[in-house]
C-alpha cells in the first residue's frame, strides 16, 4: 500500500481523489466546510457541526445507502457518493423557499386542517417532502449472525479514564476477563455501546456495534462506563448555519490535510475546554468571547497569543450570505453590542456527559446546575446505585481534562472485589431501587447557562433559532407550546419533535430543558428529561438481523 493510500471516489458524478485512511468528510472538505445537506422542513443549508457522527450535517448517500455519516465513514476505491437533499441540487435548493414562506415556523400540528375535503391532498403533498433518503432495493447477500459473548467485566469508552481503568482491570484479572469497547465519539471506527439493560439476577445485557460488522450481544456481571462528555450546542439566530460547530467538530475538521476549515473563528467558551481549543487551533482563532467570566488560564492564553478576549458576552446572531461573515456580541453587563468579522464559530462553553447508558441501566441520576446536566449519583469507589455498574471520568462528573489517575485504581479494585464475592458499597443516601432522574438538585448558585439564556430570551430574537437542528424545531415553536399550556420535556417532545431526531436528543435536550425551565418558571430539575431509548447510536437493521453462521 502506498504511503498516502490515495483512492478515487465519485462525488455527485465528479471524480475526487481521497485518502483511504481519512474520513469521507476529510475528502469533501477543503478551505471551508461543504454544504452537504438541507434541513428537514425548511431546507436550510447544513454543513457538518459535531464531527462525531451525531448531527445531521454530513449525511450523504454512499453506494446507494442513505444517511451515511461522512465524518465516520472511511471511503473505499470506487465509492459512489451523492448528496441526498435538495432540488435541483443541494447547493441550490429551490425548496429553501419554505424557509422564507414561514419566517417564524411552519406549524404542522395546527396547520393543514381545513377544509376537511383537502386533507388527502395536503397529506400527499406534505409526505412528498418527508424522509432523508431512499433505501436501495438491490439483491441482498446473506447477513452474518450477531456475535454473542460473555465477559465478567465490560469497560466502555475510549478516553484516558477508560484506558486507565481497563488496563488496571487487565492487570488484576487477566486479559480474558475484561472486554473493553471503544469510544462513543467514533462509532464508525470502534465498537460503541447501543443499549445497556438493568441487570437481571446480577447479569447485564448489552448490545454493541461497529460499522460494517454484525452487532455484538454481550452479557456481563460488572460494567464500567467511561463514556466521557461532548460539547453542547448553543441557541442564537443562525446557530445552524454552515460554519457553526462544536469544539469537538473543530477538532475533527482540523485534523484534515488543510488544517481547520476556517481562518478567523470566534471561539465561544470560558474554561479549560476553550484554553485547549486555543492551543489546538493555533492562528485560526480571531477572537474569544466568553459567556461569563473567563478563567485566569484562558485570559492568560489569549494574551499570550495576542487574541482579543470579550468577557461576559451574549452571542446574539451569526449572519452571512452563505456560511458566516459576521457575528454579533452583546455585553451582558453594559449592553454594548459588537459586530465581529468571523468565518466560523466554535462552541466550547459547555460539556454534557454521555450518560444515555446510565439512564438505560436505571442508575440514580442527579441534576447539576453547572454545566446543567444529569450525572450519576456515585459512591467514592465509582459505584452507581445499580449494583455492578460503575462510572468514571467525565461522565461521572470529573471536569474536563481533570482525570485523576488514582481513581482508575480505586474503581478497578472495587470491581474486582465485587467479582470475587465481596460486598460493594452503594452510594450513601441513595435509594436501592426506583431510580428516578431529577430526584435531587444540588444547592449553590444558579445554573450559569440558565442565567445566560434568561438574558438571551430578553433579546427577543427575530429570526429562527434552531432548538433542534435534526427536526427543524424553532425556539418560537417551543414558546407556542408553552403558551398553549403544555409543559414538561416529555410532552414538549411529543408535540414538537424535540429529542426525536437523529442526534437522539443530544444537542436539543440540554438546551430545551433550560428554555422550558425559563418559559415555565420552574427549576430545570422539574422539567424532567426524555427516556434514553435504544439504540444510543442509530444502527442498520442488517447488523442485528443476520442469520448466517460464521464471521463476516
Amino acid at each position: 500500500m502506498d504511503r498516502d493510500h490515495r483512492i478515487t471516489i465519485s462525488v455527485n458524478g465528479r471524480r475526487v481523489s481521497a485518502r483511504g485512511d481519512r474520513s469521507l468528510l476529510a475528502a469533501l472538505t477543503h478551505e471551508h466546510l461543504p454544504v452537504l445537506t438541507r434541513s428537514l422542513k425548511y431546507h436550510r443549508p447544513r454543513a457538518p457541526f459535531c464531527g462525531t457522527g451525531q448531527c445531521t450535517g454530513c449525511l450523504v448517500r454512499v453506494n446507494g445507502e442513505p444517511s451515511v455519516r461522512a465524518c465516520e465513514y472511511l471511503p473505499r476505491e470506487g465509492d459512489v457518493v451523492r448528496t441526498q437533499r435538495g432540488w435541483p441540487s443541494t447547493q441550490h435548493d429551490l425548496w429553501a423557499l419554505f424557509d422564507r414562506l414561514f419566517p417564524r415556523y411552519l406549524d404542522t400540528t395546527h396547520g393543514f386542517t381545513r377544509p376537511a375535503f383537502l386533507r388527502p391532498v395536503y397529506t400527499r403533498f406534505v409526505r412528498r417532502f418527508s424522509g432523508q433518503g431512499a433505501v436501495p432495493d438491490d439483491a441482498p447477500g446473506p447477513l452474518p449472525r450477531p456475535l454473542e459473548r460473555e465477559t465478567p467485566v465490560l469497560v466502555v469508552g475510549g478516553g484516558q479514564a477508560a484506558l486507565s481503568v481497563a488496563s488496571e482491570l487487565v492487570r488484576m484479572l487477566g486479559p480474558d476477563r475484561v472486554l473493553h469497547i471503544g469510544h462513543p465519539k467514533r462509532p464508525g471506527l470502534q465498537h460503541s455501546l447501543l443499549f445497556l439493560r438493568p441487570p437481571v439476577r446480577g447479569v447485564f445485557e448489552a448490545v454493541a456495534y461497529r460499522q460494517g460488522e454484525p452487532a455484538l450481544r454481550l452479557q456481563s456481571r460488572a460494567v464500567v462506563l467511561a463514556t466521557g462528555a461532548y460539547d453542547a450546542s448553543l441557541l442564537f439566530p443562525g446557530n445552524d448555519r454552515p460554519g457553526v460547530m462544536t469544539a469537538e467538530g473543530a477538532e475533527t475538521f482540523a485534523s484534515g490535510e488543510d488544517g481547520p476549515p476556517f481562518r478567523h473563528a470566534l471561539l465561544f467558551g470560558a474554561g479549560p475546554r476553550a484554553v485547549e481549543m486555543l492551543s489546538r487551533l493555533k492562528g485560526r482563532v480571531a477572537l474569544v468571547a466568553t459567556p461569563w467570566e473567563a478563567t485566569p488560564e484562558l485570559a492568560q492564553e489569549a494574551t499570550r497569543q495576542s487574541i482579543p478576549l470579550h468577557p461576559g458576552q451574549l452571542l446574539l446572531s451569526a449572519e452571512g450570505p452563505s456560511g458566516i461573515q459576521t457575528a454579533v456580541l452583546k455585553d451582558r453587563r453594559s449592553g454594548a453590542t459588537t459586530p465581529v468579522s468571523v468565518d466560523a464559530i466554535v462552541l466550547a462553553h459547555r460539556r454534557i456527559p454521555h450518560a444515555a447508558a446510565l439512564f438505560q441501566a436505571g442508575a440514580l441520576m442527579q441534576w447539576r446546575d453547572d454545566p446543567g446536566a444529569y450525572f450519576p449519583v456515585l459512591a467514592s469507589n465509582g459505584a452507581t446505585s445499580v449494583p455492578g455498574l460503575y462510572a468514571i471520568g467525565e461522565v461521572a462528573g470529573s471536569g474536563f481534562g481533570a482525570f485523576p489517575e488514582e481513581e482508575a485504581h480505586r474503581v478497578a479494585q472495587s470491581v474486582v472485589a465485587q467479582l470475587e464475592g465481596g460486598k460493594e458499597s452503594a452510594p450513601e443516601g441513595a435509594p436501592s431501587e426506583g431510580p428516578v432522574p431529577g430526584a435531587t438538585s444540588s444547592p449553590g448558585p444558579e445554573c450559569p447557562m440558565l442565567s445566560y439564556y434568561r438574558d438571551f430570551l430578553r433579546e427577543r430574537p427575530q429570526s429562527k433559532v434552531m432548538l433542534c437542528a435534526c427536526e427543524d424545531v424553532c425556539l418560537d415553536e417551543m414558546e407556542g407550546v408553552v403558551r398553549e399550556g403544555w409543559g414538561g420535556l416529555e410532552v414538549a417532545k411529543r408535540i414538537s419533535g424535540v429529542g426525536m431526531g437523529l442526534c437522539q436528543g443530544r444537542y436539543c435536550v440540554p438546551e430545551t430543558m433550560l428554555v422550558l425551565s425559563l418559559l415555565e418558571r420552574r427549576p430545570p430539575s422539574e422539567i424532567g428529561t426524555i427516556t434514553q431509548r435504544p439504540p444510543i447510536w442509530p444502527v442498520p437493521l442488517g447488523a442485528l438481523a443476520g442469520t448466517e453462521e460464521g464471521t463476516p
Binding site: T123, S130, G133, A134, P136, R197, G488, T531, L541, A545
Partner: protein, 384 residues
Amino acid sequence: MKSEYDVVIVGAGVIGLYTAHHLARGLDPRRILVVDRSTLALGASGRNGGGVRQQWETVPTMNLARESVHAYRRFAADFGYNPWFRQGGYLFLAFSETEVASLRKVEAIGRGVHLPVRWLGPREVQRCVPGINPSGLQGGSYLSSDGVILPFPVIWGLAASLRDQGVDIQLRTDVQAIERSGGRVTGVRTSAGSVRTSRVVNAAGGWSSEVTAMAKLLPHTHPTLHEILATEPLTPFLDPMVVTLRRGVYFSQTMRGEVVGGMTLDHGPEVRGMASTPRFLFEMSRELVHLLPRMRRARILRAWAGYYDDTPDGLPVLGEEPHLKGFHQANGLGGHGFMLAPAATRLVAEGVLEKRSDQDGKPFAPDRFGNGDAPRAMERLQLG
C-alpha cells in the same frame, strides 16, 4: 379539582379523553373529571404505532372501526389539531393455507357490511409493497381506506377542546380507591383528595385491571408488554400498513418517513417495566429484513415499549359492570385503543348517559365474563 362530579374518568389516554368528549355533549362539562397518574400521552396512547384499520373477524368490531375511521377523517377539521391521518390501506399477508382461509373470511365478512376488502395475489402484493420478499407468499387481504395516524395530535386536540369546555383534567394524580356502598359507586379517593361521584369510567388502559380491583371486582384484563421500533426517516416508498398473521409482525411508514413496526413477543415474567429489550431489537430486525430485504440498510433510530390491555376473548370491555352500579369499563382494547377509540367511547358514554346506542354493544359488555365459564375466543385478529 372540586369535591363532587357527575362522572370521574380514570385515565387521560385516548379512551378517557374521547369518553369525556362524548359525555360533554350530554352533561355539564364542568361536572366531568378526568384523572391520570401521569401526564398526557405517556401510556399506550403515546406509544402505539398509529394503525387504524377496519378489517376484523367480527362484525361489531368492524362497525366500531368503521365509525372511528370516519371520525379520524374529520378530526383535523373538527379539533384544529392535525393527526395527519393517511389512508394508505392495510395489507394482511398470508404465508400458509390456514392464513389464507382466515383472511378470506375477513374479506367475506367485510364485504357483507359493504367494506370493499380486496384479495391481492402474490403479484399484486409485490406491487403494493415494493421489494417484499416473495418467498412463501400466498397473497393478502387489503382495504384501501384503512390507514395510519399520528397519535399525539389527537391527544392534544382532545385535551385542548375539553379544557376549553371546562372539563377538569387532573394530571399526576393517583387514584387510590374506588368507594362503593350498597352495590353503587359513591366516590373516588385520589392522591389529590377525595371526590364524590356516582359514576366512574375505568379508562386506565394497561392499569385498568388495578382500577377494577380497587372497585373490589374481578379484573377481566391483563397488561402485556409490547415493543415497537422506528427507523431513521426514509423517502416515502411504503403506502400501506403491512401485517403478518405469523408472529404478528407489522410495519408502515409514517408521514415523517420513519418505518415504524412491532411484533408479538411473549416475554414471560422475567421482563418487567415499560422498557425495551435487546431480544425485541434482534428479533424484530430479523423479521423486518426477512420480509423487506431492502430494510437491512436502514438504521434503527429508536425503540420503545408500552402495555397492551388484553382480554381472554380478544374483544374490548365496554359498559357498566353488572354488580356495581355506576362503574363503567372502557378498557381491554388489546393494543387497538387508538384505532377504535372514537366509536368505542361513544358506546361507553351512551351507557353512562343511559341512552340507547345504534352500535351493537352486547359482545363487549362486561357481563359476558359473569357466568364463571371461560369466555369463547372470538376475535383473533389481535395484531397490528
